[in-house]
Amino acid sequence: MTEPLLSVRNLSVEFTTYGRTNAVLHGVTLAVPERSQVALVGESGSGKTVTMKAIMGLLREPPARVTAGEILFDGRDLLRASRAERDRLRGTAMAMIFQDPMSSLNPVFTVADQMGTILKYADRRLGRQRGRAGRRARVHEVLAQVRMRDPERVAASYPIMLSGGMKQRVLIAMALLSQPRLLIADEPGTALDVTTQAQILKLLKDLVEEQHLALLMITHNLGVVRETSHYVHVMHRGRIVEAAEAQALFAAPREDYTRNLIASVPRLTGGTSFATLARTDDET
């Protein structure tokens, strides 16, 4: 088998606050092959976001400290990479989508401004030449890719003028700007209503397949996993307790913890079949 795009091995992280040290991740191992859709699922507080931040290089050290393990991206160990190299990857080869679209956009700049700035510095890190007009065109292109009916208008808007679903799609567009190879989505859409969330997940799945990206979907909801992922890692208290093909996991969970998780799944789409959901449009 070829090397996976992302491979986290035996990762341990602890936090030190007010002199007390708390181990949060205990030897986490997971892999995301190229063009695959992989889920990391676990209850709230199990360590999913910390794992994601470690991968993205967003942990603040201190209070965090990586005590063991490696994070291989495309065969290179990020934990031993130079700061410049990590900065170069962040937001370009690997990008992430934040959980809460309401608070993840800067309220005082237009969408075009924020996306243009991201693109400008991504280009610079990658040594790519593209003028202002080129950036504008790319911003509109990506906004159209996330099914915005009127990209020009959305680009000219301030976040306060957009609905929750539209903000979430702007955040997805931001992540897609530099054609990343790996997309990490931390509980996407959980801040939105159920229907909008389902639409966002559908959009994400479509985009990942269209653009041949690898997706690491982080969620506490196995209903989301069933719809979006091929492979599942179940996390509990900072450990991966079970890892399996999605089909196999739902058919025959090995761990009690996984069984309980499956038993408590809320039906995501509330009766509507996921596949028949209308394409998202500006009304979401």
């Binding site: 937001g91 934040f98 890190r125």
Partner: protein, 341 residues
């Protein structure tokens, strides 16, 4: 559009405030004990002379009539004559207001130029030495009384170091009439007399520094607090994940959303300094309106006092309108939501 309505509403309110102010100041001026005619004429004047002057000034008419006359004159820019200088109050104020305005503008510039970078540095390097240094400066600025700082600067720079002038707006050997805007720095620039500009700036430096210290400290602390609040927001973390460089996150993504509070305070400080500059004006013999106001109050020079208060009030209201406009420009949330500012 909503924002225009919001501004229009603020303009109407401001006019109401000014009318209210004119009534209050008029009543207070009439209610204070002591007879302005007697004060003007001195203790040796006869009762007849006093009654005569009271009649000439309209002080023997009913209050409501006096107020009507006051407003009627005010509406074509007539504030009466000053008993102290025996000149038209409008002329006195025109000259002294320009002097104060120039001083206050320089002060605000200094407070901003020093306070803002201090606040930004303190937020960026929280709990490290720039934060400590900024706090020290802010506390010193806040606790040092303005008169003390003014005297200290005057002694140090003027009498020990002999590098900066310590009184007035210009060297008397440098005759210059600022008759375009009244601001010497600006007018001399417009007329191309750069030596005068330089001299005026040298005269401004000490009094403006003395007046700026407290505001600068306040700006620094407020900017720091606002920025720290914004730095804990998700969108700053998100900007980091999207690869926005550190300096841009601080100077653009954090500073702009943090700027409304410092800007508002700066506007209030600016407006109230017009009245509060008198200590500095007295120490540095600055021919400003604040000092003029004090002298006329002590003399019960009613026309002059009312003029000074009305001009300060109008200025206060005007500055606040400008600040409302700027705040709307800085923060689209306010512009879009309109009145909820």
């Amino acid at each position: 559009m909503e924002f225009l309505l919001f501004l229009l509403r603020r303009v109407l309110w401001s006019l109401l405030v000014l009318v209210g102010l004119s009534v209050v100041i008029f009543l207070i001026a009439r209610a204070v004990p002591g007879d302005p005619a007697r004060m003007a004429l001195g203790p040796t004047a006869t009762q007849e002379q006093v009654t005569d002057l009271r009649h000439k000034l309209g002080l023997d008419r009913p209050l409501i009539t006096q107020y009507g006359l006051f407003v009627a004159a005010l509406s074509h820019g007539d504030l009466g004559r000053s008993l102290l200088t025996e000149r038209a109050v409008t002329d006195d104020i025109r000259e002294s207001f320009a002097a104060t305005l120039e001083l206050v503008l320089a002060t605000i510039f200094l407070a901003l130029a020093a306070g803002l970078p201090l606040g930004i540095a303190a937020a960026r390097w929280k709990d490290r030495w720039p934060d400590t240094a900024s706090r020290l400066v802010a506390i010193l600025g806040a606790v040092t009384p303005t008169f003390f700082l003014a005297l200290l600067l005057q002694l140090l720079a003027g009498y020990v170091l002999h590098v900066l002038p310590t009184t007035g707006r210009l060297d008397p050997a440098d005759p210059f009439h600022a008759d375009i805007t009244g601001l010497i720095t600006l007018d001399s620039l417009l007329e191309g007399r750069f030596a005068v500009t330089l001299d005026a700036l040298r005269h401004l430096l000490l009094p403006a520094t003395a007046l700026a210290a407290a505001t600068m400290g306040q700006m620094a602390r407020l900017t720091r607090a606002s920025m720290l609040e914004v730095m804990s927001q998700d969108y700053i973390e998100a900007a980091r994940a999207f690869g926005i460089p550190d300096w841009l996150r601080v100077l653009k993504y954090t500073l702009r959303p943090s700027f409304v509070a410092p800007l508002t305070i700066l506007g209030l400080e600016f407006a109230s300094m017009i009245g509060n500059a008198f200590v500095v004006e007295l120490v540095f013999s600055w021919p400003g309106m604040a000092a003029y106001g004090i002298r006329t109050i002590l003399q019960k020079d009613l026309n002059a006092v009312m003029g000074v208060v009305m001009v300060s009030g109008a200025f206060f209201v005007g500055v606040n309108l400008v600040i409302d406009l700027l705040v709307g420009l800085v923060d689209p949330r306010i512009r879009i939501r309109g009145a909820r500012a």
